[in-house]
């Protein structure tokens, strides 16, 4: 797949460089020799069928788990944290609320900008003291994104921010991401919603059969003249 393998221009140091990364879960190989690079100022989508290891890939990038082999190198510019992994609604206990979550972030992360987080939460007009148990998953996602994006990081990771969310709120979340992403930082999203996100994504990484293929969305349009989702379906057809 030489046409799909992107070359890194020598000037730009990638924010994230994963080389030959492998990961197994309970002796079952999940990811084999994965290469992934993320340049500054990009929005990248990771797509793949269920169980293909997308969430695991994101956790590896975020440093939450360690690979069984391969290297993961994060090269943030000065003054920024290398990566900020945004929590999903399933990962936060129901008894937490926005305030407590903010306390958690303040407690553990020196790069957390509390004022900005408060600004974002206030702008969303969401109940900040109510337990997440009483909020919809869309509201929880917005809270989690507000806090994750308030860390001063070079790279932001989000696992299916649009999953199980009603259409109107999905649009709000898309715009929220575009509005709150700091200049020069990159965003990597695991997503199923390729149609809705196709104009927002600069690159697409397809996880298929334990390997990855990374391609610019502009290349998909120029070379194949099809939508990003159609390209994905084409590439994963023989499943």
């Amino acid at each position: 797949m030489a046409e799909n393998r992107m070359e890194i221009p020598p000037m730009e140091t990638p924010l994230l460089l994963m080389q030959k990364v492998s990961f197994s879960y309970n002796k079952n190989p999940l990811l084999c020799q994965i290469d992934l690079h993320v340049r500054p100022g990009r929005i990248i989508g990771i797509a793949g069928s269920n169980g293909s290891g997308k969430s695991t890939l994101l956790k590896l990038a975020g440093g939450l788990i360690a690979p069984s082999e391969g290297s993961i190198r994060l090269s943030p510019p000065d003054g920024l944290a290398p990566v900020s992994y945004c929590l999903t609604s399933e990962q936060i206990p129901g008894w937490m609320n926005a305030r407590k979550l903010m306390a958690y972030y303040s407690h553990f992360f020196a790069d957390f900008d509390r004022e900005r987080a408060q600004e974002l939460l206030d702008s969303l007009a969401l109940p900040q003291k109510r337990s997440l148990y009483w909020l919809s998953s869309g509201q929880i996602t917005l809270i989690a994104l507000s806090l994750g994006l308030s860390r001063r990081a070079a790279l932001y990771l989000s696992d299916e921010p649009l999953a199980s969310i009603e259409p109107k709120l999905r649009r709000d979340i898309r715009r929220f991401l575009l509005r709150c992403m700091p200049e020069g930082s990159s965003l990597v999203m695991v997503t199923h919603h390729l149609n809705e996100l196709q104009y927002m994504l600069d690159e697409l990484a397809i996880l298929h059969r334990h390997t990855i293929r990374q391609i610019e969305t502009e290349t998909i349009r120029r070379k194949y003249g099809i939508s990003v989702e159609d390209y994905f379906l084409k590439e994963t057809k023989n499943d």
Partner: protein, 133 residues
């Protein structure tokens, strides 16, 4: 925002902004919205929006001052603008020809549309609809 899936997005956005400039919505010297604001409005990546701005700048339509923003070229040549409108008209006519209309038919069609379309001319939906088929 609906885009043509097969053509580069930054060009499509650039063209839309160009039309706004030519139509006078953004007069020469006026500051455009920031890259981020446009990105949110069109729901495209900031990188795409940067490319759109570069595209417009390469056409001499806008001038970008780093750290300040992008401005419609104050020295925008009215004939250059008109030239772009002419290019659009040529494209439109060739589309109609592809659909099988002869020159007199095209002329008649446009006259009908002009009668239907009441001035002021900020109701271009009819012509746009026809252009896009």
């Amino acid at each position: 925002m609906g885009f043509d899936a097969a053509a580069p997005i930054y060009i499509q956005i650039g063209d839309r902004i160009r039309e706004e400039i030519i139509s006078g919505k953004y007069p020469p010297g006026e500051q455009l919205k920031s890259v981020r604001e446009y990105a949110v409005f069109y729901e495209v990546s900031p990188l795409t929006m940067h490319r759109a701005m570069q595209y417009l700048e390469s056409q001499g339509l806008i001038v970008t001052k780093k750290g300040v923003g992008s401005f419609v070229n104050p020295q925008l040549n009215p004939t250059a603008a008109r030239q772009m409108v002419k290019e659009q008209a040529l494209r439109f006519i060739s589309r109609l020809r592809e659909m099988g209309l002869s020159a007199p038919e095209i002329l008649k069609l446009i006259q009908e549309c002009l009668q239907q379309d009441n001035p002021p001319r900020d109701r271009p939906e009819n012509e746009e609809d026809m252009k896009n088929g």
